[in-house]
């Protein structure tokens, strides 16, 4: 409840600021979004933030520091797989408790954009799942730093500060110069965490591009999970050496 309340207050703040940007921009289009699209972008973004769980996951780092992680390694399931399964369950629950309240609030107080293409909503669902997997991969990697440094606080601060701006939470990445936005999409996973599902939902691009962005997301999700598996193997080898 408390988290949904805070997300909603920030929804109002961000929505008013972006609407003011659109109001003053030429032809009322800011970065290619009209006012209704920006409202949907903000409110769905406030909900999706809690579904992909951009911030506030330090379970793995805490278990590494306390040594409890040894218990995870004894199980017959790879820790990456078991943590991912738990995270998807958490995300499913968050759809009801954290995604719906801000979106309903947005619908009550602002003119929101309603998708027109028949495939947009299912594509958005696929995109949201891929975003959750990719975001889990990022969080897992950041937490894994604790295997080597014992304290993952520094990388976590960097993650919190960087991910908000680069994933499109504070402003749509299309507000930046095109070359920079494209570079972020191709070279970093950040736009795949929030910006892509939101762009898909508000139909910012023609259908081919919409599907293309989701394909980029799938590429990042696979890459990140593979990286997690690789890091986990390396870490386990190191832990055995340490344990004697």
């Amino acid at each position: 409840m408390a988290g949904a309340f805070t997300n909603t207050v920030f929804g109002f703040l961000r929505c008013y600021v972006l609407l003011a940007v659109a109001g003053a921009a030429s032809r009322g289009l800011a970065g290619g979004y009209d006012r209704a699209q920006l409202a949907t972008f903000v409110w769905a973004g406030q909900g999706l933030l809690a579904v992909v769980l951009l911030w506030g996951w330090s379970e793995l780092a805490d278990r590494i520091r306390s040594g409890d992680v040894a218990g995870d390694l004894l199980r017959p399931v790879n820790p990456v797989v078991s943590y991912l399964a738990a995270d998807l369950g958490r995300a499913g629950h968050a759809v009801l408790t954290r995604f719906v309240p801000p979106v309903v609030t947005g619908l009550l107080f602002f003119d929101m954009y309603v998708p027109g293409r028949w495939f947009t909503v299912p594509l958005f669902a696929v995109s949201a799942v891929l975003a959750t997997v990719a975001c889990f991969g990022c969080r897992y990697l950041v937490n894994s730093v604790a295997y080597w440094l014992a304290d993952a606080r520094g990388p976590m601060i960097a993650w919190v500060l960087g991910s908000g701006v680069l994933s499109g939470l504070y402003f749509p990445l299309r507000f930046m110069p095109d070359w920079l936005a494209v570079a972020l999409w191709v070279a970093t996973p950040f736009p795949s965490l929030l910006q892509t599902p939101l762009d898909v939902l508000v139909e910012r691009d023609p259908p081919a591009m919409q599907v293309g962005l989701v394909a980029v997301q799938a590429y990042w999700a696979v890459l990140l999970i593979s990286a997690c598996l690789w890091v986990q193997r390396r870490a386990e080898r190191k832990l055995v050496i340490q344990g004697g």
Partner: protein
């Protein structure tokens, strides 16, 4: 105990904190650097928004940056001084608060000095720099009254944000699991005060700007410095009396804190 001795225990607490936090030098330097980035991101966000539109809520970038700088330095300094009071819910839950209450010192200053996040000083300095640069770029027509306001307004902002931190933390006395509700008013209030309040509208603006008083942190003082009339119709002298709102907020927060601590029953753990 002589009168002059009163601050001594507090100074000892502060010295201990400074020594402890500077002990791991590399870690402290990383903390200093990463703290600046939070405000760097806020400023970058404003610059990106102005890249898309020439004006925001009827204000140009140069004018808006005075508001951004003023609220950034005020929030960062308040966060440095009292921001860690957010951790009160941990203190209540673990029973540490009981240990604090039995000592013959004020509970609030003890809690603050037990965990003063010195790393946040870098953010305060960066905020002050943004404020100074914005003032220089805004082409202000200096008068003695404005020269006083330019210093008083951010100081009042520190007091105001400090009051918001203490008041939202005091909720923990009634409701241990305050979660993130306080963040809506501390960080939310900071975000609100970062932009000209003309970008907001309806009951939301009335609530945050006038009901909670965030319009008087940076918007009205900045209007007075810039010599602009308020599009929302308040007279020009409001900017000069705006710091009075900080005093009221501090008094209200002190009252909430006092009632809260009297209401506090140990968790017994």
């Amino acid at each position: 105990m002589a009168e002059g001795d009163v601050p001594r225990p507090y100074l000892a607490l502060l010295r201990g904190q400074a020594r402890a936090q500077a002990a791991y030098r590399a870690s402290f330097v990383i903390d200093l650097a990463s703290n600046v980035f939070a405000t760097v991101m806020d400023v970058l966000t404003v610059l990106v928004l102005f890249r898309v539109s020439r004006t925001l809520g009827g204000f140009t970038l140069r004018e808006a940056m005075v508001i951004v700088g003023m609220s950034a330095v005020a929030f960062a300094a308040a966060d440095l001084a009292v921001g860690n009071i957010e951790r009160i819910k941990t203190y209540v839950r673990t029973g540490l608060l009981d240990a604090v209450l039995v000592r013959p010192l004020g509970a609030l200053p003890q809690l603050l000095l037990m965990d003063l996040p010195l790393r946040k000083i870098s953010r305060t300095i960066f905020g002050a720099t943004v404020y100074a640069v914005a003032l220089g770029a805004a082409g202000i027509d200096w008068t003695p009254a404005r020269a006083v306001l330019v210093v008083v307004a951010p100081l009042a902002g520190v007091v105001f944000f400090g009051a918001i931190f203490v008041a939202s933390a005091a909720v923990a006395f009634w409701w241990v699991e305050t979660g993130e509700i306080g963040n809506a008013f501390t960080y939310g209030g900071r975000d609100f005060a970062t932009y000209p309040i003309t970008v907001y509208s309806g009951w939301f603006r009335r609530l945050f700007a006038y009901g909670l008083g965030f319009a008087f942190v940076s918007y009205y003082p900045a209007l007075a410095l810039l010599g602009r009339t308020d599009p929302l119709g308040l007279p020009p002298w409001v900017g000069y009396v705006a710091p009075g709102v900080a005093v009221l907020a501090a008094a209200a927060a002190a009252a909430v804190w006092r009632v809260g601590i009297r209401h506090y029953r140990s968790t017994g753990s």
